[in-house]
């Protein structure tokens, strides 16, 4: 039994390390030049509706910038939860992609609920009390919908990638593996729920065991069910694997949107942004085309302020 726990611990450690590494890398990259695309959703709702920006205003630099976090949230909630962008632009794919992503989201929800109920159990809440009963109800609903949607969605996505020549032409072995891998996980989870654990009781016990390194058993004994054991192994591997691949867009989308697509902050005198840019201008590039005239010693500022020979 302990072997399963150790395996899951290791996978969660890989998950955490790779997520942290990806985020750390983004946070330590130099500030880049502006490259936004409109609509930028933190503009006030009236402007965001048609894609307008603060630059539509006369002497805009004299005006106080109005940003709407509410508007941003109102946009992102259906974008993340319902995949509105894909619905709008590529509905055929959405039909498969949405259940696939819904399955993954609900697996996260189930994990969080199982974790919560395990913690509450450890804190001494009665198992048949109102709180844990409500959590259990949500867990069962989210679990069943999630595994069915995930299995159907990953099967559909696999079918689309094989059947659609445009998708097939760009698919790599890794793309097929990812889908088969996730399909296997969802199928195993579905079989476990059908055959052995329809109310996710054993799953909660496994999480409880994880939280206490097996001390708070009765632990789930995966050996009692092959799909159960496979679900634990595959689920742990999925958690470790996703942040190592392009599927990390699940959380990296934050940077794609907030740090590029919607990064419209103007440079103001004396701001931290200006300091960051000044620091960037001290980098010493080594581009070798003749007109750059970089030698590894001149800074970006030197080069940008200079007029090379051919331009004199």
């Amino acid at each position: 039994m302990m072997g399963y726990y150790i395996f899951t611990y290791l996978c969660l450690a890989v998950f955490a390390a790779s997520v942290l590494w990806r985020i750390y890398r983004q946070l330590t990259l130099p500030v880049h030049v502006r490259w936004e695309i409109y609509p930028v959703q933190h503009e006030p709702a009236a402007k965001a509706a048609y894609g307008g920006s603060y630059m539509e205003g006369l002497n805009w630099w004299k005006e106080k910038r109005r940003r709407s976090t509410v508007n941003e949230i109102l946009y992102m909630a259906p974008e993340i939860g319902l995949m509105r962008g894909l619905w709008k632009e590529n509905r055929n794919l959405w039909l498969f992609s949405f259940p696939f992503h819904l399955g993954l989201y609900l697996m996260l929800v189930v994990f969080a609920l199982l974790l919560l109920s395990a913690v509450l159990l450890l804190l001494g809440l009665a198992e048949d009390g109102a709180v844990l009963s409500i959590i259990k109800g949500f867990t069962i609903a989210a679990g069943w919908i999630g595994v069915i949607a995930g299995a159907a969605g990953s099967l559909g996505m696999l079918y689309r990638r094989l059947a659609d020549r445009d998708l097939r032409a760009y698919a790599t072995a890794a793309d097929y593996f990812n889908l088969v891998f996730l399909l296997l996980f969802f199928v195993c989870a579905l079989l476990t729920a059908l055959a052995a654990d329809p109310f996710f009781v054993a799953a909660r016990l496994y999480i409880l065991g994880l939280l206490t390194a097996g001390a708070a058993t009765p632990a789930y004994a995966p050996g009692q069910s092959v799909p159960g054991a496979l679900t634990i192994v595959l689920g742990s591997l999925v958690a470790a694997y996703i942040p190592l691949t392009h599927m990390s867009h699940m959380f990296m989308k934050f940077f794609l949107y907030h740090k590029v697509k919607w990064d419209d902050s103007p440079l103001t005198p004396g701001s931290p942004l200006e300091s960051a840019v000044k620091q960037n201008l001290q980098y010493r590039p080594t581009w070798t085309a003749a007109h750059i005239e970089a030698d590894g010693k001149k800074t970006w500022q030197d080069i940008a302020s200079s007029v090379p020979k051919e331009m004199k």
Binding site: G51, M55, T172, E274
Partner: protein, 536 residues
């Protein structure tokens, strides 16, 4: 059904990866059906022999074929060196974060493909698919520059790197107009336009490879002579003097275009191409600014009378050099703000992208002329008679300041006030389609590239224009308002190529011309439909 071209095919020798056959291109409606079978004229045999032509039917750069295998190897080495630098902070702080994010998170869902006018209009030619060049670069990067890449290539998508692939990639970087419509629809936020931009940079900044219209005749000439048109300050002043005389005929009074006025409120910078190709645009600004009583000036300093900045499209260093020069001129003139005339990429280059290059006293406030024009109209100081513009008008949205800067409504609010026949294109605003001349295409005319632009990259815009006016009789003159020099150039060329003035009575021009055309007190109209005045 033909086999699809796949990313790995880019390195496999062949006469060409893409050929447009008669009937392949998107269908044009009557009275333009006779163009539906038109294809590009083949490149001359001597060009095919001497230049790298194995991508498609046209050439944007025209790279000479390497003379020896050693030369090829050296070029491959330099490409890899440049690719490495794209991922280094010291070399590419300007775009490293956006590039990494777009390289690492594409799900290859093809949502971008349907948004691309070049891909759609070409008859869905695979090499023009937005993801095609991105995927080629992604695979090269993974295989050749990441640890263990060669061992995992079969897993992550294999590709061979050779001179054939590189020469094709260089040309392919100039089959996308950087309109970034693909990026705007990507559910994840991946930007294939950005990857194309970075490819162009790699070729320019490391290998010295760029279309001559952008580099030698573009940024280099701009910094050396003062303008990418080749006009030196004296020639610019001569042109403006001529424009003043023309404007006096229209207004009936003396129009003074001020030069180098220290302490003026506004330094107005036009795309200098306007002075030569569309002098009425420069003149119309002068009439309005003078009539509205604005304090403004032009600069006669080298570079200061030409707002273009072709560096935006292919080279960050050249972008920075031109932007710094513009800002420094404004700083020394002690103006309160820079106003950019009707030039889309100049807007983006100086107001937005260079914002994080201009620090300290070079950070002069910068504004779009459309905003300034709207303020003039709303001030009520000037009277306009919309009936003088009583003809069908549609508006083209330049990608650079609409989708990419969010300046969407000022121009519309003006048109609603002064042009009763204004109607939108479908789609419009931030969902607009590129004119087909973006990212330098409008000024690139070597070999048969102009024909490729007219036939493929501008085709969607032509269809949109025809659709906007489909309810109008052919004999009614119609005005395509394109407040951007490069867009105007591209639209001028499509109207000419398809004989649209004769067949549909289509004309084009800027926004400021419509304003002056409707301005009270003008002796003559500034807008003509051929020889016919727009009002009498």
């Amino acid at each position: 059904m033909k086999d699809l071209i796949k990313p790995a095919d880019i390195s496999k020798p062949s006469a060409g990866l893409c050929r447009i056959e008669p009937g392949d291109l998107a269908t044009l409606p009557p009275p333009y059906e006779d163009f539906n079978a038109t294809v590009l004229k083949p490149l001359p045999a001597d060009k095919v022999k001497a230049l790298e032509t194995s991508l498609d039917d046209t050439l944007a750069i025209g790279i000479p074929k390497p003379a020896t295998p050693e030369e090829e190897e050296e070029l491959v080495r330099r490409f890899l060196s440049g690719l490495t630098k794209l991922f280094e902070k010291k070399n590419n702080w300007t775009f490293l974060q956006p590039l990494l994010l777009s390289m690492e998170h594409c799900a290859r869902c093809q949502t971008c493909s349907e948004a691309c006018p070049v891909f759609e209009m070409s008859g869905r030619k695979e090499i023009y698919r937005p993801i095609f060049r991105s995927e080629v670069l992604r695979r090269i990067y993974k295989k050749y520059l990441t640890p263990g890449g060669k061992m995992t290539a079969k897993w992550t998508g294999d590709i061979d790197l050779n001179w054939t692939a590189i020469a094709r990639l260089a040309e392919l970087a100039y089959r996308c107009s950087l309109c970034r419509r693909c990026a705007s629809v990507c559910p994840i936020g991946v930007d294939n336009g950005l990857i194309t931009h970075e490819l162009r940079k790699l070729f320019s900044q490391e290998m010295g490879i760029a279309p001559k219209e952008l580099h030698e005749k573009g940024t280099v000439l701009h910094l050396r002579a003062g303008s990418s048109t080749g006009m030196n300050p004296l020639a610019a002043k001569d042109s403006v003097e001529f424009i003043q005389e023309e404007m006096e005929e229209i207004t009936g009074y003396k129009v003074d275009i001020p030069w180098d006025v220290e302490g003026a409120d506004i330094l107005l910078i036009h795309n200098a191409g306007e002075m030569l190709a569309w002098p009425e645009n420069v003149g119309a600004f002068a009439i309005l600014f003078q009539a509205a009583g604005l304090s403004w000036t032009l600069s006669s300093e080298t570079t200061g009378y030409d707002a273009v900045n072709y560096g935006l499209w292919y080279d960050d260093v050249q972008l920075a050099r031109v932007a710094l020069r513009h800002a420094d001129i404004a700083r020394r003139l002690k103006v309160k703000k820079i106003v950019i005339g009707e030039c889309g990429h100049a807007h983006k280059a100086l107001i937005e992208t260079s914002d994080r290059l201009l620090t300290g006293d070079l950070n002069i406030p910068r504004e779009s002329a459309l905003v300034t024009l709207e303020a003039i109209v709303r001030s009520g100081k000037l009277k306009f008679d919309p009936q003088k513009n009583d003809f069908p008008v549609t508006l083209h949205d330049p990608c650079n300041y609409v989708r990419l800067m969010g300046i969407v409504e000022p121009q519309r609010r003006i048109l609603r006030q002064i042009a009763p026949g204004f109607r939108e294109m479908t789609p419009h605003g931030v969902d607009n389609y590129c004119c087909g001349g973006g990212s330098g295409f409008a000024i690139m005319s070597g070999y048969n590239f102009t024909d490729w632009r007219n036939l493929v990259s501008s085709r969607k815009k032509f269809l949109q224009i025809l659709q906007a006016f489909e309810s109008e009789p052919p004999q009614t003159p119609k005005y395509v308002c394109a407040p951007c020099s490069n867009c105007k150039g591209a639209i001028r060329d499509i109207l000419g190529y398809y004989d649209a003035e004769k067949r549909s009575r289509l004309y084009y021009g800027g926004l400021v011309e419509l304003l002056v055309n409707a301005l009270d007190g003008m002796k003559k109209p500034i807008i003509l439909f051929g020889d016919e005045p727009s009002w009498k």
